[in-house]
């Protein structure tokens, strides 16, 4: 045996490239870990982190292993040794990927978005006060207060956003801790059950069928052990495990079982369990190393984060440019620089929607909650919207599209194919069961089967019962239990006297039973196996309960049925039986399975039965929905192309009338090369083909075919596919469950991990977890995501509108010298007071039309905030609001004695503290404080007017295209809660807190509340007209310029 040391080097480059160099002989092996070396690799040399895995434990004998790890196979480690090793190597668990430190997250909230603008505002306030103070020590503290208020606003919204984020992250972490794993270990010569994370290298562990392997284990004694390695290597077939060293590679050799894989079965007692020695734990396991690769894939920004950034840039750009323009205007109008700075602060505060980012966070978390109810658990809040903009879904087959269990799909007997019900509960089996052949066939199915229900599940529905046995046998057991009732009872009545289990050389399984008829002393031999092998052993065939000789035509009928069932990707089994004559095989006959002292030919062929992992019943509908929503669904599976294609066809990923290049070739009887590739809508690509493709070819494939199935792919090839899709400017959602999927999950715009089948590593890498592993849940997620995008548009439009009404006063104040119509603090009361609940209420708005009937938004063209939205909010509704508010303002001043003509250019005298006898239009004289109080009344009036018109704004924002009457004014109750909150907050501010001087509110005369109402009505009417024209003239100039 070659003792050459084998070295695996797992290289990991900083951002995206994953490469595994196999230094052994370059032979094609271990599909799972093999991967792509992208040309950019060299650019990342510096970031490369090199780890070397040096594993040769599989080549050592038991004694060498004992010596190496200082343990004893019979007695195990001593507790002291174990404790020491545990302290040395740490617990046996995967280190979760390093998240951003909390403090960084917090600081990000503090300086992200508009915060930086507000900080600038606050600092300018303090600077202004500093200058004032150095000139005049008695100057008022107003600017200091304003600065503090601004700082407080930033800190509060920051803390709030941080809290929201943290809350949604907590949901996730609690979810992860649900099931602590246990391991059965031998220590101090005793069997103990300990938490799996307490395992150390050298521990002797026992593994039963159904257990998760608790660490990387070198098997010492086992029989008939099978493991599911799909999460490591992507092989979906169960892999046999034994104690022998079979391969140089630790990934291929049969005597190592990997951490977190599932042990499917171990031969029945007396052995019952597999015993093994722990050879590596935690992050040093193979899986740990793969998982750490995922952390090298950088998180890209979510689409909504990009949109919000874009929006922040627009608003900040407007704020800063308007601020600077008016700073220059103010300075050139000979205003004091200090005053100009204060104007600048006012303009910034007026322009920045302080409450909006917090609102967006709340809106997203509301949707996240709603989605969690529909089994989509969102880890990253922003991912809520990402699903909505998804244009390609790369979905797994097993478990996501299918039920992840073999199920009997078809039967063939009496020269006829019968369809069995494959829905989740098998409720209505409608095929004809009157034939005597069926009676024989069902007997074989029931008897020639070693699978058993685990005891103690009497109350569990049949389809949900846990079974000990492999997938096919489980399917047959459940099928016969549904068809015939109590299988165990039937088996008891037909006592088994001998059996030959299935093995890959025989390709059949056989058992011999006594019959349940006490008068019939014959033995019944039942056999199932690969159809062609079964047919070879038969000389007769049962038709309608009668044995007939097996002639050529019957054999052809058999082949046609076999090919037909196999062609649709189903696993086909043949069944036959033979009654042994009593004279040769009396009741006392002793059967010996080793010498086979009984006939194994001239059986009577009874029927065929085919099985498939059927699609979930909700999936076809969901795929259709995706298709009409313009989302391309790509299947990526490790399964056979035929099975994959069959499932793809049955769920509609490949639609009924579309063909692959191969189909066309077959239909036209042409060689594949001569077929025009453009004609084929669908494509089935295997991993081998994919491996030979250049990125350009892949791009071409992805662009030219709308229906694609990738079969026989390794999970790592998913990464290539995802990158290919992303090159098409698509927003890609990827589903995955294995550890090996985690790089692709990270790379995807939205990674979706399976909650039931998913490994922790996959869940860590994903942005979203599907609690029910169901593809249909993704579709509801898409729907929610699209809705939230639409509603965020509405929220932003609503919030931006009043910014003009808040900004205009400052501009007019600077240019026309009116007493200030609205104060900075008052603006904050709108932005963070009256407007908050209404803008959240828009998140509850129902969709205007079927959002699942339009194309996904284009990442770069369909922006959250587009020019029509900004223009319509700022220059149409915003301006109308400003006018309405100014009417109220002028009314208040005029009715108190200051006519509009008088207050024009009155600012300098108005604000002069030494002028205490300022004459109004009627000859009365006002002290400074009396004017100030009037100014506050003006603020309150302006505030109330904006609030009243924001009610109209809120109502019109319910829809973007439809009339409010179509949408229903009262359907969204939360909007009315929002309106009520606006009014109540305004009432409290004016009448409740009107006496608190610092807030600058006064008790407003009731009639001033209604001055802006006509303007509010006008806003509503104007918007209805806008929507009417949009509906009447779709695609027109009006539509292009007015629809946001």
């Amino acid at each position: 045996m070659d003792r050459k040391r084998e070295i695996y080097s797992v290289e990991l480059s900083g951002t995206k490239d994953i490469e595994k160099t196999d230094k052994e002989d370059g032979k094609e092996k271990s599909r799972g870990l093999k991967n792509k070396c992208l040309e950019r690799k060299k650019n990342h040399q510096k970031e490369e982190l090199k780890k070397e895995l040096d594993l040769d434990d599989h080549k050592l004998s038991k004694e060498e292993l004992e010596a190496k790890y200082g343990t004893n196979i019979i007695t195990g480690l001593s507790s002291a040794q174990a404790a020491e090793l545990l302290a040395q190597h740490g617990p046996n668990s995967l280190t979760p990927p390093k998240g951003t430190p909390e403090i960084i997250k917090f600081l990000k909230q503090m300086i992200g978005g508009f915060s930086i603008l507000l900080w600038i505002g606050a600092i300018l306030c303090w600077i202004a006060y500093g200058i004032q103070y150095s000139n005049d020590h008695s100057s008022s503290l107003d600017n200091v207060y304003l600065g503090c208020v601004l700082a407080l606003v930033v800190i509060l919204t920051g803390v709030f956003a941080y809290y929201q984020e943290a809350k949604s992250t907590n949901i996730m972490s609690s979810f992860q801790k649900m099931i602590p794993q246990q391991a059965l270990v031998i220590r101090d010569s005793e069997k103990k059950t300990i938490p799996a994370d307490q395992l150390v290298v050298g521990d002797i562990v026992e593994i039963k069928g159904g257990d998760r392997v608790p660490a990387d284990v070198r098997l010492l004694s086992t029989q008939g052990c099978k493991v599911d390695n799909s999460s490591v290597t992507g092989e979906s077939e169960p892999q046999a495990r034994s104690c022998e060293f079979t391969h140089e590679s630790p990934l291929e050799t049969k005597n190592i079982a990997f951490f977190s894989t599932t042990c499917l079965e171990v031969s029945a007692p007396p052995v019952g369990t597999a015993t093994g020695m722990v050879i590596s734990t935690g992050d040093r396991t193979i899986i740990g190393q793969i998982a750490s690769l995922a952390s090298g894939v950088k998180d890209s920004k979510t689409p909504i984060a990009i949109e919000i950034e874009h929006f922040v840039h627009i608003v900040a750009g407007v704020a800063v440019s308007v601020g600077i323009i008016f700073f220059i205007i103010a300075v050139s109008m000979k205003y004091h620089v200090l005053d100009s700075i204060i104007f600048l602060i006012g303009i910034i505060v007026a322009n920045v929607p302080e409450g909006l980012l917090a609102t967006v966070t709340v809106t997203l978390s509301l949707t996240a909650k709603r989605m969690a109810k529909k089994n989509c658990l969102v880890k990253n809040l922003e991912a809520v919207e990402t699903l909505g903009s998804t244009s390609i879904i790369c979905s797994d087959k097993t478990g996501t599209l299918t039920q992840n269990r073999m199920t009997v799909a078809h039967l063939w007997f009496d020269h006829q194919i019968f369809v069995a019900d494959t829905s989740e509960n098998h409720s209505n089996q409608v095929f004809d069961q009157s034939s005597a052949t069926w009676a024989s066939l069902s007997k074989i199915i029931t008897l020639c089967n070693r699978a058993e229900f685990r005891p103690g599940q009497e109350s569990v529905p049949i389809m949900k019962k846990t079974v000990v046995g492999d997938a096919s046998e489980t399917a047959l057991l459940k099928f016969s239990e549904v068809m015939l009732g109590n299988v165990m009872d039937i088996r008891k009545r037909n006592r088994k006297v001998a059996e030959i289990p299935f093995n890959s050389t025989n390709k059949f399984q056989l058992s011999i039973h006594e019959t349940e008829d006490p008068d019939d002393k014959r033995f019944l031999v039942v056999m199932k196996g690969a159809p062609e092998r079964i047919l070879e052993k038969c000389s007769t065939i049962m038709v309608n309960g009668q044995e007939q000789p097996l002639d050529r035509s019957t054999a052809e009928a058999f082949h046609t049925a076999y090919m037909e069932l196999g062609g649709i990707g189903e696993r086909v089994l043949g069944f036959c039986h033979l009654y042994l004559p009593t004279d040769e095989f009396p009741e006392t006959y002793s059967f010996d399975v080793d010498t086979m002292n009984f006939p194994t030919s001239n059986f009577c062929f009874v029927g065929l039965l085919s099985m498939i992992d059927p699609p979930r019943s909700t999936v076809p509908d969901a795929v259709t929905k995706c298709r009409s929503a313009g989302i391309k669904v790509i299947m990526v599976t490790g399964d056979h192309p035929i099975t994959a294609k069959a499932i793809a066809k049955s769920v509609g990923i490949i639609s009924a009338n579309s063909e692959t290049v191969e189909d066309i070739a077959k239909r036209l009887n042409l060689p594949v090369e001569q077929v025009n590739k453009q004609d084929a809508k669908a494509a089935v690509v295997t991993g081998m083909e994919l491996k030979d493709m250049s990125p350009e070819q892949l791009d071409e494939l992805l662009a030219n075919h709308s229906e694609i199935v990738f079969a026989r792919t390794s999970p790592q090839q998913k990464l290539i596919i995802v990158e290919g899709c992303q090159r098409q400017d698509a927003v890609v959602a990827v589903t995955g469950d294995g550890v090996n999927d985690s790089p692709a999950l990270k790379k995807a715009d939205i990674g979706i991990a399976m909650g039931i089948a998913g490994s922790d590593a996959a869940k860590n890498a994903a942005d979203m977890v599907l609690l029910d592993d169901n593809f249909a849940s993704i579709v509801t997620g898409v729907e929610e995501g699209r809705l939230i995008f639409d509603n965020l548009k509405k929220t932003i439009a609503y919030t931006l509108t009043k910014n003009i009404a808040e900004l205009c006063p400052f501009l007019i104040y600077i240019i026309a010298g009116l007493p200030l119509p609205i104060g900075t603090v008052t603006i904050l009361f709108i932005d963070l007071g009256t407007d908050i609940i209404p803008s959240i209420a828009l998140a509850y708005e129902k969709a205007e039309s079927d959002i699942m009937n339009r194309k996904p938004r284009h990442k770069k063209k369909d922006r959250l905030v587009n020019p029509p939205l900004a223009l319509y909010s700022y220059l149409h509704i915003g301006l109308m609001q400003a006018l309405g508010a100014f009417v109220t303002y002028f009314t208040v001043y005029a009715q108190q004695g200051f006519l509009p003509t008088t207050i024009l250019h009155l600012r300098l005298e108005w604000e002069n503290d030494n002028v205490n006898d300022l004459e109004d239009s009627y000859g009365q004289e006002w002290t400074r404080y009396q004017r100030k109080y009037l100014e506050w009344t003006g603020y309150t009036a302006f505030f109330v007017s904006i609030m009243i018109q924001q009610i109209a704004d809120l109502i019109i924002r319910k829809t973007r295209r439809n009339s409010i009457c179509q949408q229903g004014l009262f359907r969204n109750k939360i909007v009315w809660v929002g309106i009520a909150s606006q009014i109540i907050i305004a009432l409290i501010l004016s009448y409740g807190l009107g006496s608190i001087q610092a807030l600058n509110f006064t008790m407003l005369r009731p009639q001033y509340w209604f001055v802006a109402v006509p303007h509010a009505v006008l806003i509503w009417v104007y918007d209805e007209v806008r929507k009417l024209f949009i509906r009447l003239f779709p695609g027109s100039w009006w539509d292009k310029n007015m629809y946001y």
Binding site: T15, K16, L875, H876, L879, M880, L883, F886, V887, F890, T891, A894, Q895, Q896, G897, L899, P900, N914, V915, N916, D917, E919, D920, S921, Y922, G923, Q924, E925, W926, T927, R928, Y929, Q930, Y933, L934, T937, Q997, R1005, P1014, L1018, W1037, N1041
Partner: protein, 279 residues
């Protein structure tokens, strides 16, 4: 990825150029001439409509107002006190005896302020009965005379420098006009010197009385010739030191409905000022 995403300077320049004027589509700043025309026309019409609407609402609002009396007078229930002349900054009179330029401004201001109080100007005014309100029913409203002689030494008749030249400056104290205000009791303005100086204050008319006949005021339009009652304060310093300084506080006394104490409004019914006189 970053490499391909970053556009070269030339590329972005070309993009900008294309945005400013796209030869193939004839788009200027992203719109064709027709589109620009339509959008400008739209905004012209839309804003024209808004402007008309705003003007109309303002006009309608102004129609509801009364020319003579403001609709509400609740925000000035009680008058403020103010002094005259008004120093440049704060209420701080500062001048130098030896430099006539330093107080010439005050004198000019006072002269200008007292011009409507001249004999010639008061010719047509009514000589009303002292001690009662001079209530009128209209339609013609007339004002009561306020003879300058009441201000005695500060009237500017005998001493055209209002005492500044002699080092005995005069400051006029007046009560803000409020339409319809009727002080109760016998309002007078009382001034006291706050600092511990030897300054002596004399008020004219004696006792600082404000006669009730000057109330109520009927507003600028009806009561155009109205003369505000004045009280003059004359400060005379003792003979010590080069710099003479005094804080004077005046407030309304004797009228319960005129407020003189308000924490926020330092000028409601009271006024404080400082006089600094250099040698």
């Amino acid at each position: 990825m970053t490499k391909t995403d970053k556009k070269s300077f030339n590329q972005s320049l070309a993009e900008w150029k294309l945005f400013i004027y796209n030869r193939t589509t004839g788009e200027f700043l992203g719109r064709t001439a027709k589109s620009w025309g339509l959008i400008l026309l739209f905004y012209l019409v839309f804003y024209g409509f808004l402007a008309a609407l705003f003007s109309f609402t303002m006009w309608a609002m102004l129609q509801t107002l009364n020319d003579e009396v403001p609709k509400y007078r609740d925000q000035i229930p009680s008058p403020g006190l103010m002094v005259f002349p008004k120093p440049v900054s704060a209420l701080d009179f500062s001048f130098s005896l030896s430099d006539s330029e330093s107080y010439q401004g005050y004198i000019d201001d006072l002269k200008k302020f007292l011009k409507p109080y001249g004999l010639e100007e008061q010719k047509n005014l009514t000589d009303c009965t002292s001690g009662t309100f001079f209530e009128q029913k209209g339609p013609e409203y007339t004002a009561c005379q306020f003879p300058l002689a009441l201000l005695e030494a500060c009237s500017g008749v005998d001493d055209p420098t209002f005492g500044y030249q002699e080092g005995k400056p005069c400051i006029l104290v007046k009560m803000n006009r409020i339409i319809g205000l009727k002080p109760q009791g016998e309002p007078r303005i009382e001034c006291i010197s706050k600092s511990e100086s030897t300054a002596f204050l004399s008020t004219y008319p004696s006792n600082g009385t404000i006669d009730l006949k000057y109330f109520p005021y009927y507003g600028k339009k009806l009561h155009g010739s109205y003369l505000q009652p004045l009280v003059a304060v004359q400060v005379s310093f003792g003979s010590d030191g080069d710099v003479k300084e005094v804080m004077v506080e005046c407030k309304i006394d004797g009228s319960p409905n005129l407020k003189t104490q308000d924490d926020r409004d330092k000028f409601l019914g009271r006024v404080a000022f400082k006089i600094t006189m250099h040698a």
